[in-house]
Symmetry: C2
Subunit: 336 residues, 2 copies
DNA sequence: TTCATTTGTTAAATCGTTTTAACTATTGGT
DNA sequence: ACCAATAGTTAAAACGATTTAACAAATGAA
């Protein structure tokens, strides 16, 4: 990169002060107004010179000395998944507001990869981590937490760990949409879920069972657990479901929903005539199906702003004064 | 971040050598084999100690001294747009392979925001930039290029600028899908496009016109240009199109496609009975419509790998020996 | 007047690496 | 025996900021 670096030294020379003063002014001046222990003339002059020379602080130097990089690492399942990419966008905007940057890393739900990318981000020197834990990462996270890394869990929790987190009230959300299916006449409702051990899908399964029980439908419940990234069996499963008289699917994640919906149409069935759908996260095309699809709209913006708020509150905590960890549970919104 | 930093100094002491040697070994040792001008005993010892103490180089220090941050900035329209988030994912993976990181920033097609985020990334100290230019950023980009910044344009070009780029053959792609519509019986085909001045949509419009001309349908062509993020008029437009006897839409981008498709259904029309659709980028639910939707599948992985390859070739160029800029045009794949 | 506090500023150390220039052995050619 | 080249290593100077400890001058209290 061609960068004719103007340094703090140039400014110091030009303004006739020391580099220490320049540094102090540059990093503490707020809107040109009164600055503790600095002559306002002087500080104005420094600011002016900096402006004139188009001074841009070198962030590597700053990071080296101060130990703060101004970067938050975000580890999520897959940034190409719309749910996460939407979160990513909000996180990006949030970070910008704090004068921070975010670096994303995808794990593909693989705990080994999770470990690897976390380590890369740590080496890179992030000031905090926002993590979407996947199955099998409990130990890695526990280790991070106990070594004092600034962490916020997102979308999923790790039970028995004192660490900040922001999650949806998944159980309630799942219960609500299942009830909505029931109120629209569904009686044989299958749940399609993932086989991975992840807090949010487990909670959603509970919500499904809750609703079925509350409606006296416990006689028929079925949870079909699909392994992540092995979707071969879906075709057979859907046709069998039809045979079993299933008339609605309650689906745990957006990826699974799209697969099931496609499959339904591929087999010549229709929504809502053959099946109704309850699912998580919206898709621009769901509206087409009218009341055939109920979905949980997750407050993605709140996920992002809360997570960033939490991670920032730890970043800015005075050394020694660790802020208490905070668990936040957000309410779902039901649509469709 | 709590990090009990093991430094190069610790290793030097432990291994009984100088820090210079440690640094040299650490950054040049490839798989433990012969290392220029270093006793293999010594280098093995250094490596061992580093391993034992779990040495992690401090990247801020490295960046400060070497001037390389190991980070590429990626500026795109909106990372929550599936097309870009998919690219983002591939870029992330690619970068990882080069031992690099990427930082994303979204512009929302706003040239002022573009300028801002580029400046943030530059200050952060990226080794290169992958840019999706938006309308009105020509000057900003020209300026960057002429100041020697390592740049690769993605998805869109800026005419008259000697800079590397990776784009789709948009004109040809648009021509192909329009022809496919025609071959399936469409005659009154509207194109829905953006009003922004962006190379790829302009090219797609040309492709549409090409196909219409080639089929002798130049008598009826219509390009509806929508302003970015002001989609209020779509509803009226669709119903008017129906009145005009339009029986197919050729749509320039994925966002517009979803809007139009939703609107079609909202107004009680059907695909393919009332309208056929030709569009760009796939959506998991398009398959439902069978041959009613033709779409261009962009080689997103190639976009990413080529862009990263280009930016990396500049990063690793010896100072003074600037690699020539390279323009890459990728071929589309038609599906549906 | 004298001592204490506050104001305004700076010299110098430090962060952890990379990199340059140089130095001592050792080898080999003549 | 002499010189040149090569191998192996290191001391020390960057890189550009932040931060600590200290100092001089001005102010105020007694």
């Amino acid at each position: 990169m061609a960068r004719n670096q103007i340094t703090i030294k140039d400014i110091a020379r030009e303004a006739g002060v020391s580099t220490a003063l320049v540094s102090f002014v540059m990093s503490n001046a707020t809107a040109g107004e009164p600055l503790y222990r600095v002559n306002s003339e002087t500080s104005k002059r420094v600011l002016e010179v900096a402006e004139r020379l188009r001074y841009k602080p070198n962030s590597s130097a700053r990071a080296l000395r101060s130990g703060k990089t101004g970067t938050i690492g975000v580890v999520l399942s897959d940034i190409s998944n719309p749910f996460f990419s939407e979160i990513a966008r909000y996180l990006e905007d949030q970070a910008y507001g704090y004068d921070y940057n975010v670096i994303f890393a995808s794990t593909d739900e693989d705990p080994e990869k999770f470990r690897r990318v976390v380590s890369v981000l740590m080496n890179k020197g992030v000031d905090g981590l926002i993590l979407v834990p996947c199955g099998g990462t409990e130990d890695t996270i526990r280790e991070l937490v106990s070594s004092g890394v600034n962490i916020v869990l997102l979308d999923r929790t790790v039970p028995g760990l004192d660490v900040s987190s922001v999650v949806l009230d998944n159980r309630d959300a799942a219960k609500c949409i299942t009830e909505k299916l029931i109120s629209r006449g569904a009686v044989r409702i299958d749940m399609v879920s993932y086989s991975m051990n992840i807090s949010n899908t487990r909670d959603r399964e509970q919500g499904y069972l809750d609703a079925m029980a509350a409606a006296g439908l416990s006689g028929y419940t079925h949870i079909e657990r699909i392994a992540h990234n092995s979707y071969g069996g879906i075709s057979q499963y859907v046709s069998e479901a039809k045979d079993r008289g299933v008339n609605a699917f309650m689906i745990a994640t957006n990826t699974l929903s799209l697969l099931v919906i496609s499959e339904i149409y591929k087999q010549g069935f229709r929504i809502p005539d053959d099946f109704m759908i309850a699912c998580f996260d919206r898709n621009p095309l769901y509206d087409i199906y009218g009341s055939g699809i109920v979905y949980v709209r997750q407050p993605v913006d709140a996920f992002a702003s809360k997570a960033m708020e939490l991670v920032m509150s730890h970043v800015s905590a005075k050394p020694g004064k660790k802020r208490p960890e905070e668990q936040i549970v957000l309410s779902p919104e039901i649509t469709g």
